[in-house]
């Protein structure tokens, strides 16, 4: 009831924004409404998970196509993703109350924001293919309009165009995917798809199509090209949702099809997903570490984290098909935990970037610096997010990556030799990605918040309004909380996935609360709770010792300048110089990174120039050559426009004769 009311509110808010968009106060009202609606949906999801986890209330409404009714259903998986989506949605709405008036044209953002939330939640509760795709398109188109909000800049228009193309491609793949699952009977409800047995070829195509369709929305390499263009183009609170949440809706689509609707997916697909996930993770973070624009960096980091979660999903598929339900449950719990964590810290980081944008108007790392002193709240919250996404204990990112590693270490128990040898390779890729992610966020945080300001805008930054600060602090607290209470999360997650895998797997069985011991007490255990408590204790003791016994006066002095009296902030470590070693080691081959140095002649007073050339292998290799191919084919086909009358007749004649020949040959 609550959920239905919240659903009905969102389109109404959009209409309200359309009608009263001229008034300045209307934007705050709309975001406030969105906050209320998403809190209601969040509460609904939590109540469902906590109150009656096994139940799956359904609702059939008489609209949609004349012969298809609209089916809705709220089961465990939907409720879990509803929590993921609406947690970040609430944060983004709250942030939007203050931030919404800072975007260039608020009237181009406010009407679509509730629709975006509506679409994402609609995907989660849809129980037939028709409603699923309608909601999916709602989500895509609303977010497309939001990407286009700042339409005066050419790169945003290009981003929106690429995004629209990729969204169309994704839905184009999902459509036949559901068609195949519905079978010749044409019953598009998910209930019918669950019982429908798929032929081998159809089953193969379904998995391939859903990987292409949902994978393009999630940003799996090589379908990620739109993501780093489109996510940064939208206003920051929308970027937070697109990056933190919309990719999770795509993961929901993957899980729904692969674990629920499609009966049996072979372990080979699990292996393929793990490879794709590993490559996505490494390439995503390699891109990220080279970026100068903070929002683009975060978008690429989303690509990496989706790769990590997909590794978990692929491993779960492989274990499930190999008759190891307990390990499958572990891998799926790890993947979902990571999805939940990523939605929170990615929202936190994007909203933090929004705060930086509000304060300075800059999002280029080379124009920031020294913000920690000027924006202590934002800086502290951003630090928590950066530490969490770098998978540092005791924060939440560590727990989920640790769990994924724990399940990867069980890979050799799979019966197939390819997996026995392949899983450690994926593990190595994941380790590399995790290390690079840490480097990436050390760089991002260090360059943006530490050191001296690199521009006037950064020097004049002031802390953002209280609503924004509060949002950031709440998200940062969630990062700590989810890291400190991992057992609570894993227990509820294993309840969520029990219907999908078939077993209820307690991750903390051996040692009991509060220890996570997925594969036995001796093989590895972790307790965030104990770690946080011990850490807090020691931290408190250290502070007490330092402040109680040490000097109380605060002394500010000039930083040691190595003997150079140089007051130019550009002489600090910059983002580019920090990334240089990584670029030389890792990016030389995949991105063909080349550095050229132009030294002025002796006596010439001009500056030396150091330029870096990078080539995006996926964009150049796949998209550009695909575009060329399409152009070439179009040129060939275009000739058909200029034939003579007789040639047209000849073509008709030839087609007719050919078809007749086919009939003549094929008849018995």
């Amino acid at each position: 009831m609550l959920i239905a009311a919240a659903f009905a509110t969102l389109p109404a808010l959009s209409l309200f924004a359309l009608l009263f968009g001229r008034r300045a106060w209307s934007h705050a009202v709309v975001y406030l409404g969105c906050l209320g609606a998403s809190l209601c949906l969040l509460a609904g999801g939590l109540v469902h998970l906590g109150g009656h986890p096994g139940a799956a209330p359904t609702l059939v409404l008489p609209f949609g196509l004349p012969w298809v009714e609209a089916h809705f259903r709220l089961d465990n998986l939907s409720a879990l993703f509803m929590v993921i989506v609406d947690l970040s949605a609430a944060a983004a709405s709250a942030f939007g109350i203050a931030y919404g008036s800072h975007v260039p044209e608020p009237r181009r953002v406010t009407p679509f924001f509730p629709l975006f939330l509506f679409g994402m939640n609609g995907v989660l509760v849809a129980d037939d293919a028709f409603m699923f795709l309608v909601a999916w398109e709602f989500m895509s188109l609303a977010s497309w309009a939001l990407v286009l909000a700042d339409h005066t800049r050419a790169e945003n228009r290009k981003a929106a165009m690429v995004y629209l193309t990729m969204a169309g491609f994704g839905t184009f793949c999902l459509l036949p995917c559901f068609g195949l699952m519905a079978g010749p009977g044409g019953d598009y409800t998910f209930a019918a798809m669950r019982v429908h047995e798929l032929a081998p070829t159809a089953g193969f195509l379904v998995v391939l199509l859903v990987l292409l369709g949902a994978g393009s929305k999630a940003g799996l390499v090589p379908l990620h090209a739109w993501l780093p263009l489109a996510h940064p183009a939208a206003p920051s609170h929308v970027s937070a949702l697109m990056s933190g949440v919309m990719t999770k809706v795509a993961l929901y689509g993957l899980i729904r099809v692969l674990f629920d609707l499609h009966g049996e997916v072979g372990w080979q697909w699990g292996a393929a997903m793990m490879v794709v996930g590993g490559v996505t993770a490494v390439l995503g973070v390699l891109y990220a570490v080279l970026q100068d624009d903070l929002k683009v960096l975060l978008a690429y980091s989303t690509v990496e984290n989706i790769g990590v979660a997909v590794i978990g999903l692929g491993l779960a598929l492989a274990f499930k098909d190999s008759g190891e339900p307990a390990l499958a449950a572990l891998a799926l719990v790890a993947g979902l935990y990571h999805a939940l964590n990523h939605s929170i810290f990615k929202s936190l980081l994007f909203l933090g970037t929004g705060a930086i944008l509000t304060a300075t108007g800059e999002k280029s790392l080379n124009a920031l610096g020294g913000l920690l002193n000027r924006m202590p709240w934002t800086g502290a919250a951003f630090l928590v997010g950066a530490a969490a996404i770098s998978a540092l204990p005791p924060l939440n990112g560590f727990v989920s990556e640790w769990l994924i590693f724990q399940s990867l270490f069980q890979g050799p128990s799979l019966p197939h030799w390819a997996m026995k040898f392949g899983v450690p390779v994926v593990g190595a890729l994941l380790a590399l990605a995790a290390a690079l992610a840490a480097a990436c966020f050390v760089r991002a945080y260090g360059v943006a918040f530490l050191g001296r300001p690199r521009s006037e805008a950064a020097r004049g930054a002031v802390e953002v309004p209280a609503v924004m600060r509060l949002t950031l602090v709440v998200l940062a607290a969630l990062c700590v909380l989810l890291g400190a209470m991992p057992v609570v999360v894993t227990d509820s997650l294993s309840g969520v996935i029990a219907p999908l895998i078939g077993v209820h797997f307690p991750v903390s069985a051996d040692l009991g609360w509060p220890w996570l011991s997925p594969v036995g007490a001796t093989r590895g255990s972790y307790s965030g709770t104990v770690l946080v408590m011990v850490g807090a204790l020691m931290f408190g003791a250290a502070i007490l010792a330092v402040h109680g016994l040490g000097v109380r006066t605060l002394r500010r002095a000039a930083a040691w300048d190595c003997g150079h009296v140089e007051d130019n902030p550009a002489s600090q470590y910059t983002g580019d110089s920090f990334a240089q070693p990584l670029r030389r080691v890792f990016a030389a081959t995949p991105f063909r990174a080349r550095e050229t140095v132009e030294m002025p002649e002796p006596g010439d007073l001009g500056p030396a120039r150091h330029t870096v050339h990078l080539i995006d292998p996926v964009w150049q290799g796949l998209y550009v050559s695909l575009g060329r191919l399409v152009d070439a084919i179009a040129d060939q086909v275009n000739r058909l426009q200029f034939l003579t009358v007789r040639r047209y007749l000849l073509m008709m004649f030839a087609t007719l004769v050919l078809l007749l020949l086919v009939v003549a040959v094929r008849q018995p």
């Binding site: 426009q641 007789r646 008709m652 004649f653 007719l656 004769v657 007749l660 020949l661 003549a664």
Partner: protein, 223 residues
């Protein structure tokens, strides 16, 4: 009775084959007036086929079809085209895109194709209908072939009319084709004929020729 059946079958077959032969004749002619005469002969054979079908099927309305074919297709259309050719002073050689020898070979292949196709497909139908359908389809394909291998607009129109003759042949051989359909086909052909005539005049006024080459080079997107 048996004998009567066999005779009616043979005669129908003979007339149908005559229509087909006339189709080949159309492809073989090198002079425009000879093409028109052959076309008139084909239409005459078609009228005979319709009349014969009317007799053996006991379907008096087919006599009306035969009369329409005789009046319009065997007399009116050839005379009108004849008049047009003289009036416009059209070049009276048939200009071919494919040499006549090759055209004939392709035509024979098309006839073989339609026989191969129609006979097995219509295995359940009466023998009379099957043979006639194969012949009719051959005539249709030959008409199309004529349209694509000839440059001159008049020969293209004749090809179109020959194609339509094939359709009519198929229609009269199948039992139960309503008269209304045949009359409407006949009238539509006549209307098409009138339109073609008007267009001939217009094209001629503009380009001084009916060779379609000139029409093609005149389109706006070509220079």
């Amino acid at each position: 009775m048996e004998q009567h059946q066999a005779l009616s079958y043979d005669v129908a077959h003979l007339i149908g084959a005559t229509v087909l032969m006339a189709g080949f004749g159309l492809l073989y002619q090198r002079r425009l007036f000879a093409v028109l005469n052959t076309f008139a002969f084909q239409a005459l054979a078609l009228a005979a086929a319709a009349a014969w079908q009317a007799r053996i099927q006991d379907a008096p309305h087919l006599y009306a079809t035969a009369a329409i074919a005789l009046v319009f297709k065997a007399l009116a259309v050839p005379f009108a085209l004849h008049w047009l050719v003289e009036k416009l002073g059209i070049h009276r050689t048939v200009e071919t895109a494919l040499s006549i020898g090759w055209t004939m070979i392709v035509g024979v292949a098309l006839v073989a194709l339609s026989i191969l196709l129609v006979l097995p497909v219509t295995a359940g139908a009466a023998a009379l209908t099957r043979e006639s359908l194969a012949l009719a389809m051959s005539v249709v394909l030959l008409g199309l072939l004529m349209m694509i291998t000839r440059h001159n607009a008049v020969t293209q129109v004749v090809g179109f009319m020959a194609l339509e003759n094939g359709l009519l042949l198929a229609a009269v051989s199948a039992k139960g084709m309503p008269l209304v359909v045949e009359i409407s086909i006949a009238f539509s052909v006549l209307v098409a004929m009138t339109l073609f005539g008007i267009f001939f005049f217009r094209i001629r006024e503009r380009f001084d020729t009916l060779d379609l080459h000139y029409l093609e080079t005149y389109r706006g997107d070509r220079h």
